[in-house]
């Protein structure tokens, strides 16, 4: 099949506007505009338009729906490659190898790709905009992302991104788009099964119910949370739903959990969170996917709630919205609401859907409660525990002021899910106590663990992750239960407790390994994407 290449180099507002319209057969589309506008703000200089392009996703939609229509429609798509440099010189010359190498040379300027399908009402089949290129990189972080390789003209472009798809309101609505985004992330990052939008609609409507018969084709305009849960289960996920839990003056209110904290825990674990949003006065909600956060270092620390979390530093969620684009800034608090984005977490959140992996049987909230409680137990009994380790008559008094803050629920917590082996690998390379690292080396962990880090708000507020320090942490078995001991480690200043099961002894109660040390110092938090702390270490003086 013949492939064509067109390079667009819009120079000003008018030319960008013309390009936007011309790419969509002269029709405006807010999502396409938003994505091109974002690329422009990030320094996009040229756009390579590749066509014809066979898109697996549109092929699936074509086979299941569009090929069956009376109206003739092409199955071919076009793909836009976005560059922060002029791509024109790469195509100069007549030697194919030289051109291929020159195109490969553009890879450091690659900002992402957008696949356009021949549907003017919903042109974006999918898009992957680089998560390394953000509008405020010092404050923003896309925590849910995976690596993609894009191939064109004999070159391979690599990028990290959270993919986005647009609903076509024929084979799927925004509910399906949110699950497509989450599902495609799991497919790329964790080798989960590949699901197209029609695949998702099919499993969402099985078994069917009367609720989805109000639109044609069925499921094309909306889904209920039940339908979404069915689809996520079929996609191999184990979804957990959060919703407001008490009625206050006739209004459903979040009492047991703070939505921002819940979202932060999962997004910080690399798990996309589907948000069901609804503005006052509207009858149909909207679904988006939380994929990252924007932080501030100017939070007033005098007004923190009891048992605060690092979610207090989050001012905006970065969400993939199938109607508005990738990494949109959704304000957490109503006071930060602007015309930039119509929804706000505080006022518009209706429910949260967390697609957990298998073998996670306790939620982040339970793990944090357990961790905080056992850390308090250790704090309250620290002198007895230290004496048990160091022997009677020993004097031990480490970081008393921090222990006091633990006992008064003033310490700030950060809870995330990680692989047991990753926790171990990171902690062995951290600045934590030597006795902890020695014990860790010969400790086996379950596949997934919940880690809760504890520190002072003043030491955790920094935008630079290397500048953030913690003083304690707990580890809880993610396959655990409230019906048996699930805590694995409580590491407090100068004092560590391990809960260890002996494989030769099926005792109900595990053994506790206690060890005290006369001194303690703060250590690094987990830094996403870093296997060790080499980027944070200060080089020794020559």
């Amino acid at each position: 099949m013949k492939v064509s290449a067109t390079i667009h180099k819009p120079q000003d507002d008018t030319e960008w506007q013309q390009l936007w319209l011309s790419l969509n057969y002269g029709r405006s589309n807010p999502l396409l505009f938003s994505m091109l506008d974002r690329a422009r703000k990030l320094g996009c200089v040229s756009i390579l338009e590749e066509g014809a392009y066979i898109d697996r996703d549109f092929s699936a939609a074509y086979a299941s729906f569009y090929a069956l229509l009376f109206k003739p429609l092409s199955k071919y798509c076009r793909r836009l490659h976005l560059f922060s440099c002029d791509a024109t010189p790469a195509f100069a010359g007549s030697d194919p190898a030289v051109i291929a190498n020159a195109v490969q040379g553009l890879s450091t300027h690659y900002l992402g790709d957008i696949v356009l399908r021949p549907l003017p009402h919903a042109p974006v089949s999918s898009a992957r905009l680089s998560s390394s290129h953000l509008l405020a990189p010092e404050r923003q972080e896309v925590t849910v992302k995976s690596k993609y390789a894009v191939h064109a003209f004999g070159a391979e472009f690599n990028l990290e991104a959270m993919p986005l798809a647009q609903q076509d309101t024929r084979t799927g609505a925004c509910a399906q788009a949110t699950m497509w985004m989450a599902g495609r992330h799991f497919h790329t990052r964790h080798a989960a099964p590949w699901f197209s939008m029609p695949d998702i609609t099919e499993v969402a409507l099985n078994p069917t119910d009367s609720g989805i018969t109000r639109s044609l084709p069925a499921g094309s305009e909306y889904l209920t949370p039940d339908n979404m849960v069915r689809a996520l289960r079929a996609m191999g996920r184990h979804p957990v739903t959060y919703a407001p839990d008490v009625l206050v003056n006739g209004v459903l209110t979040w009492q047991n959990v703070r939505p921002r904290d819940v979202i932060m825990r999962y997004v910080d674990s690399g798990i996309p969170v589907i948000l069901g949003l609804q503005q006052t006065g509207t009858s149909i909600g909207h679904g988006v996917v939380a994929v990252g956060v924007e932080r501030t270092d100017a939070r007033d620390l005098a007004t923190l709630p009891s048992a605060p979390t690092t979610g207090e530093f989050v001012t905006h969620l970065l969400v993939n919205d199938d109607q508005r684009g990738s990494y949109c800034r959704m304000p957490v608090n109503a006071i930060d609401r602007t015309s930039e984005y119509p929804f706000c977490l505080e006022t518009d959140i209706k429910f949260l859907l967390v697609p957990l992996p298998e073998k996670v049987f306790i939620t982040a909230e339970t793990a944090e409660l357990v961790g905080r409680d056992l850390l308090k137990q250790v704090a309250a009994n620290r002198v007895t525990l230290a004496a048990r380790s160091l022997g009677p008559g020993s004097t031990w008094d480490v970081d008393a002021s921090f222990y006091d803050l633990i006992l008064h629920d003033v310490c700030m917590a950060r809870t995330y899910l990680t692989y047991g082996w990753k926790y171990k690998a990171r902690m062995l390379r951290n600045q934590c106590a030597e006795h902890l690292r020695k014990e860790l080396l010969s400790t086996q962990f379950p596949k997934y663990v919940w880690v809760t880090e504890f520190g002072l708000a003043d030491e955790l507020k920094h935008l630079d992750p290397c500048a953030r320090q913690i003083r304690a942490h707990t580890v809880v078995d993610a396959s655990g239960s409230r019906f048996w001991e699930s805590t694995l480690i409580v590491d407090a200043p100068g004092l560590t407790v391990f809960w260890q099961f002996d494989p030769a002894n099926f005792s109900v109660t595990p053994a506790a390994v206690i060890e005290a040390a006369p001194v303690a110092s703060p250590y690094w938090t987990k830094i996403r994407g870093q296997a060790d702390y080499s980027t944070c270490a200060v080089p020794a003086a020559a």
């Binding site: 409660l369 056992l374 009994n381 010969s442 206690i514 060890e515």
Partner: protein, 66 residues
């Protein structure tokens, strides 16, 4: 790798475990005396939290996402 080298690496792990301040508590009674279990108050909080998640579906009703 020779047999001697395997012994040496195993020895290194054993040496690490032989720390004077490392104490193992295997007696369930002593385990309780040292308060190494989740408190009843937090267990109740967890139950309440889990119940609120279990009943989330009822509160969402026929909410539509589209």
């Amino acid at each position: 790798m020779t047999g001697n080298q395997q012994d040496m690496s195993f020895q290194a792990l054993s040496d690490m475990a032989n720390r004077s301040a490392r104490v193992v508590i295997a007696d369930p009674l002593e385990f309780d005396q040292l308060h190494l279990r989740v408190t009843d108050a937090v267990m109740q909080q967890i139950r309440s939290l889990e119940e609120s998640i279990l009943t989330a579906e009822e509160r969402l009703g026929t909410f539509r996402v589209g």
